[in-house]
């Protein structure tokens, strides 16, 4: 490019190929700091109290339901023979999958130097951590006798018992534990420099102390940055691998069984693309209203950034559509009557409306994002993104519950009926998610300021201008 343009006499017009700006209106680093910190430092707005009361109430009701379930027994749920996994595992998979898009956006896009992801990565990571917390509610309680949960871990005990290491359910324990640990660490470690900024700007003693404690004495010395940057690359690498591992292991819970409809090698891929699809939808659902509430974010999370998330959603949605078609093909091509039967039952049993809702949403809604007009109409994007997540919940239900109610023997078929405890526990996890997210908005800088400032034009020494224009490494 430079070779051809340098011969021309007139200054080349590079605006057509220039990347969209990271921050609109040519804002500088000081503006970024003020804009992001002001969200945390300002007076707590009234809507925040209202919102957290509602989400907190849902979370509390969910907690009460869990307590009721523990003291009474799993019979308060609708799970029963032949469907021993129902809403518990549906919701577990729904939440743990949603988490994956956050790690993918922050880690994988960091490794591939996609600088547009900087302004949404912190919120995406927060979504990841909170969604894993919601997912983590279920595995422990769904075993029924919660006080035996330690059986899941290889703890030397007086019974001389050990867990079954060849079971994907045990792999799951380790996968979800390490996913929660690693994504929390990634989120927290990336936040240390920004927490130090809040510490420096703090005006009250309590804030100074609290932010001082969590920022661990960060000063931003050249040595600290040297180690920090190395750590960030390493963590991003580890997290990227972990995302793929965790979904694959969760998918193995189903795929390694012989249940028709589950026993398929495409399952890890199926879960992975569905995961990123629903996670991207959640990011859009969370960030677009946030931009409306805090107008300064409109210059940081630009329409171009949201446009790219929409495209990610479109790509993953198309992969999901491919898997649906492949499942149909697989059922036919396997020539296995049970496999074909399971597929047929999805659309003809009393659960057909779940399958039809799932397919009609997931096959059509993401395809609307081919149109720029749709991607740029943000209120519409929010509605469509929420619909995508509804579709994904139905998909998880279709995979887990419908499959179990129709297995090999028609005599053992049965239906699942959700109880009020099932429903309130599920809405409780939604409450937990939003409560945590609201706390996140209020107390933590929601945009990675240091990374964003380092990527602003002119922020790097001139001898190193390739970095400052975001033209890559």
């Amino acid at each position: 490019m430079s070779a051809t343009t340098s011969n021309e006499t007139a200054a080349p017009d590079l605006s057509a190929i220039a990347r969209p700006p990271q921050v609109l209106n040519n804002r500088g680093p000081l503006w970024v700091t003020d804009a992001v910190c002001s969200i945390v430092e300002g007076k707590t707005p009234l809507w925040w109290y209202a919102a957290i009361s509602v989400s907190g109430a849902f979370a509390a009701i969910g907690g009460a339901c869990i307590l009721y379930m523990i003291v009474t027994g799993v019979g308060v749920w609708g799970s029963n023979s032949p469907c021993f996994w129902a809403w518990d595992i549906t919701n577990f998979i729904f939440w743990v999958s949603m988490a994956h898009a956050g790690s993918l956006i922050s880690a994988l896009l960091f490794l591939t130097r996609q600088k547009w992801s900087i302004s949404i990565s912190r919120a995406a990571e927060a979504m990841t951590v909170f969604a894993i917390v919601c997912a983590g509610v279920y595995p422990a309680i769904h075993i029924g006798r919660v006080w035996f949960v330690w059986f899941l871990f290889p703890v030397p005990n007086s019974y001389g018992m050990w867990p079954n290491f060849s079971s994907p359910l045990l792999w799951d324990v380790f996968a979800v534990t390490s996913y929660l640990t690693v994504s929390s660490l990634f989120w927290f470690a990336g936040m240390i420099p920004d927490l130090a900024v809040l510490r420096d700007r703090a005006t009250t003693k309590i804030r100074k102390f609290a932010y001082g404690l969590v920022s661990l004495g960060w000063l931003g010395t050249a040595r600290q940055w040297r180690h920090y940057e190395m750590m960030y690359v390493l963590l991003a690498g580890l997290t990227s691998v972990l995302v793929v591992t965790v979904t694959s292991i969760v998918a193995s819970d189903c795929a390694t069984s012989v249940v028709p409809g589950w026993h398929a090698t495409i399952f890890p891929f199926y879960f992975m693309v569905g995961a990123v699809y629903s996670g991207s939808a959640t990011i859009l659902t969370l960030l677009i209203p946030l931009r409306a509430i805090y107008p300064q974010l409109k210059e940081l999370i630009t329409p171009s950034h949201l446009d790219k998330v929409c495209k990610l959603l479109l790509m993953m949605g198309s992969c999901v559509a491919y898997v649906y078609v492949f499942e149909l093909f697989n059922a036919w091509y396997s020539a296995n009557p049970f496999e074909r039967g399971a597929f047929w039952e999805r659309f003809t049993s009393s659960y057909s409306w779940y399958a039809i809702t799932c397919l009609s949403i997931n096959l059509t809604i993401p395809q609307l994002f081919w149109f720029k007009a749709v991607r740029r109409c943000l209120p519409l994007v929010v509605v469509l993104a929420i619909l995508c997540n509804v579709g994904m919940w139905f998909e998880r239900f279709m995979i887990v519950t419908t499959t179990l109610t129709r297995d090999f023997l028609p005599s053992s078929w049965g239906n699942f009926h959700a109880t009020i405890v099932d429903i309130l526990t599920a809405t409780g996890t939604v409450g937990i998610f939003f409560t945590l997210f609201l706390l996140f908005i209020r107390f933590v800088p929601i945009i990675n300021m240091s990374e964003l400032k380092a990527a602003l034009p002119g922020s790097q020494p001139h001898g190193d201008s390739a970095h400052s224009t975001g033209e890559g490494h």
Binding site: P29, G160, G217, M231, L234, L238, T245
Partner: protein
């Protein structure tokens, strides 16, 4: 050139023309300065290195490319720590799985073998634990190698720095430096176009 050690009494006399922060009675910790641009800071570091200074530190609101190279900082050891953590995790995970499965409590389900021929079934837990312990090593290593956690720092005596370090690119030449003289350092910093050159004394320890 003679090495001049900084004595508290002598220093306050010599640095009378500089703004002072911290406690005058306590020894001088460093002379700090603020630059407006990362270019100035990198240029200053290059000059300091040429002049033979070694005990100085740069404070920036974000990672400045080329600064660590200008300071001749070595590559971070962190990758080795993470490798060590990961290898340890592999050993822990394998022994945690194989010892109970093969030796203590062979649990045969569906007639599946448990010995080494069934190694693939042990892989997922090994991967999960390796990634987890590798990540813990990365974060812990960053904290420890970065000299954290630390509750206080002499630099916090300098209000301009402590109140909002994100407003500039700071340089502090420490009094421990063999070449340190208050006058020489002040002169050098002014030559480099630094602003807010300040003598940072230690703070009185609260008794």
């Amino acid at each position: 050139m003679e090495i001049q050690r900084t004595q508290p009494g002598r220093d306050t006399k010599m640095s009378h023309h500089l703004p002072i922060c911290g406690s005058k009675e306590e020894p001088l910790h460093a002379i700090g300065a603020r630059f407006d641009t990362p270019d100035q800071l990198v240029a200053a570091v290059n000059r300091l290195r040429a002049e033979g200074y070694s005990a100085y530190e740069c404070y920036t609101p974000y990672p400045v490319h080329g600064l660590a190279e200008a300071m001749r900082l070595p590559k971070s050891l962190l990758s080795f720590l993470v490798l060590g953590g990961g290898l340890t995790a592999i050993l822990i995970a394998l022994s945690m799985e194989l010892v109970p499965s093969i030796l203590i409590y062979p649990l045969i389900v569906d007639g599946k073998p448990l010995n080494l021929s069934a190694l693939p079934q042990y892989v997922p837990i090994v991967v999960a634990l390796t990634l987890m312990i590798g990540a813990i090593a990365a974060v812990k290593g960053m904290i420890i190698l970065g000299g954290m956690p630390r509750l206080n720092n002499p630099m916090f005596a300098w209000d301009l720095f402590a109140k909002d370090a994100s407003r500039g690119f700071f340089l502090a030449i420490e009094a421990d430096d063999k070449k340190f003289t208050t006058a020489g350092v002040t002169e050098l910093l002014h030559q480099l176009g630094a602003g807010d050159v300040t003598a940072i004394h230690l703070e009185e320890e609260s008794k």
